[in-house]
């Protein structure tokens, strides 16, 4: 039985439109034009226990809205949503004790107090027994390596340190489900990597179900076996990461390094030249014709080095979003 089950979820917002400038502001005092924004428009998926799912899409695609519906902050316009058998927006304490929502751009820690105080508060809010609290805290502190900054005022922590503390605060009640909305936003690459390692480790060690949204493809590539892509409120892909490549990338890239000058026009006969910068060229060819094209290159051109590659996932996804033909 899936822990998260969404069928045909729709969430429309009413937004009022304001003409630009002062006169527009005055007009909007008296009459307002409203229009519907379809933040989520008929999305269905289910997620099983222990899955780590990447939820990606451009800004405004509906990712955060979906997470908010799943955590009970928003109720949907229509559709069926069940999380651990509960209807999220009933906000039952028994349900709330089993999940956690971490938003990279919002914090729950008390700004003027050391993070440990916020942990204690969460322990009480979630009614975690003393022994379990101690064990969980020790484990998390060790995993994230933050023992020395537990008693430092939150405002004095760096963004990376604070994010680690936010994670601990969110995990102190050992939630079965974790919603991570941009957990690595604004972090440097080293810290991003540490966060990723932690999320992976946490998922494996506790078999918790995790949904992660991120703008950084590296997060998704490294962490998620499965990705769900939405755009403009609609689900456009749900499956393994490699499947995206198979489904959307019907081309492969040949990267060639030449010994001597070659004629670019002649190269065009082999495939579409994406990049030509002597001695290096990148040629895009049909997936099925890749080995033929490689053989031809080797035969007719002064090739020093040749590589056949899948296109970058970033490129594929970007082109899926922009609706361009995927190379």
């Amino acid at each position: 039985m899936p822990v998260i089950d969404i069928k045909n979820l729709k969430k429309y917002y009413k937004v009022h439109q304001k003409e630009p400038g002062l006169s527009g502001s005055i007009k909007s005092l008296f009459s307002r034009k409203y229009y519907d924004v379809k933040a989520v428009d008929g999305v269905s998926f289910d997620i099983g226990e222990g899955e780590l799912v990447g939820f990606i899409g451009p800004n405004g695609a509906g990712k955060t809205t979906t997470l908010k519906v799943l955590s009970g902050l928003l109720y949907p316009t229509s559709g069926h949503v069940s999380v651990l058998g509960y209807t999220p927006w009933d906000r039952k304490p028994a349900f709330q004790k089993q999940f956690s929502l971490v938003m990279g751009q919002k914090n729950q820690l008390w700004w003027d107090l050391p993070a440990i105080e916020s942990f204690i508060l969460n322990k009480e809010i979630y009614e975690v027994p003393d022994a379990q609290y101690k064990k969980t805290l020790d484990e998390l502190v060790e995993l994230l390596d933050v023992a020395d900054i537990l008693k430092v005022q939150v405002r004095k922590l760096s963004l990376g340190q604070r994010m680690k503390m936010e994670l601990i605060a969110a995990l102190i009640h050992s939630p079965k489900i974790l919603f991570l909305d941009e957990p690595t936003i604004g972090l440097d690459v080293v810290m991003q990597k540490k966060m990723r390692d932690f999320i992976k480790e946490y998922n494996q060690r506790f078999n918790s179900t995790i949904i992660l949204t991120s703008h950084y493809m590296d997060d998704v590539k490294e962490l998620c076996q499965r990705v769900i892509i939405i755009d403009k409120g609609k689900l456009i892909f749900d499956g393994a990461l490699d499947e995206i490549v198979k489904k959307y990338a019907n081309h492969k890239l040949l990267t060639v390094v030449f010994d001597k000058k070659v004629d670019q026009d002649k190269l065009s006969e082999i495939g579409q030249v994406k990049e030509f910068n002597f001695p290096k060229a990148v040629i895009s060819v049909k997936r099925t014709a890749a080995s033929m094209a490689a053989a031809e290159l080797l035969q007719h051109f002064p090739v020093a080095d040749l590589n056949i590659e899948e296109p970058q996932i970033e490129d594929i996804i970007r082109e899926v979003f922009t609706g361009a033909d995927v190379a």
Binding site: T65, G72, L73, W89, P93, D112, L113, S118, E124
Partner: protein, 266 residues
């Protein structure tokens, strides 16, 4: 219950974070007491009675008002709840098994608790310096009833101001304006600025049917023995009715507001 006690304790610690701010805040409080004291001393320097109050009665009234208001009016929730609704920080609480109203009630009580500790110290010092003549009811029943009405008023004030703040659910841009108007009205109509019995009888009896005088005027007036026991009991009963009404309405508005909040999201 324990979760709210922890909230109380954290808020208490939080208040001590900024030492300078804390000292200035207490200093401001002492200044305010001094100013009120000097004002009324000046008024009574050339006469023995004004507005139907003798010098001792009036000084007792304002002195008590200043003590009572430290517990009634101190409420960090007034400054924060509207903002949290506007910027969406409310979401942090909504996903947790905790009542947002009780959370802020606990935080308010922490602030009140701190306030009363320092108020007692400051008032004792000032009293030692100026030795104003004070006159309270000698009947312990008055004192008891006065204190109960006072405590009931503290809660009524909380729910009243939260009703004003919940407007943020519908008009996110206007919270502070509405709060300000409500607070000004409340200060005048509660008897914070002057004792309400200087008003025409008509106005006084009309005010009885609003929640405001129960916040400050009635507890103070009962404590200084202005009313008979029977009257005091009647006011206690009415203050309880107001507590019930404001509690009900605040809860109602909260639930309606949450519907709007979870329809639109912030």
């Amino acid at each position: 219950m324990r979760k709210y006690f922890t909230v109380f304790s954290l808020s208490f610690q939080n208040e001590f974070t900024y030492r300078l701010n804390f000292i200035l805040w207490r200093f401001r409080n002492v200044l305010r007491i001094l100013m009120t004291l000097f004002l009324w001393t000046a008024v009574f320097s050339s006469r023995d009675a004004a507005l139907g109050y003798s010098r001792t009665q009036m000084i007792s009234y304002v002195f008590l008002v200043l003590i009572i208001q430290t517990l009634v009016l101190a409420a960090p929730s007034n400054d924060n709840v509207g903002g949290e609704i506007n910027n969406g920080d409310l979401s942090n609480y909504l996903v947790k098994p905790i009542s947002y109203l009780n959370f802020w009630l606990s935080r308010d009580w922490a602030s009140k608790f701190l306030n009363i500790i320092f108020a007692v110290i400051e008032f004792s010092l000032l009293w030692l310096v100026f030795r104003p003549q004070l006159q309270f009811s000698e009947n312990m029943v008055h004192i008891l009833l006065g204190i109960i009405v006072w405590v009931v008023g503290i809660f009524t004030y909380f729910f009243l101001t939260k009703m004003a703040v919940f407007v943020a659910f519908w008009y996110p841009e206007n919270t502070w304006g509405i709060m300000f108007i409500v607070l000004v009205f409340m200060e005048i109509l509660s008897g914070f600025i002057f004792p309400l019995d200087v008003l025409p009888t008509m106005a006084q009896s009309a005010l009885q049917f609003t929640p405001f005088p129960y916040l400050i005027y009635y507890p103070v007036a009962i404590l200084i023995g202005k009313f008979s026991i029977a009257h005091s009991l009647q006011f206690l009963l009415q203050s309880l009715i107001w507590l019930f009404i404001t509690h009900f309405l605040a809860q109602k508005l909260w639930r309606l507001g949450l519907k709007v909040y979870s329809a639109s999201g912030r």
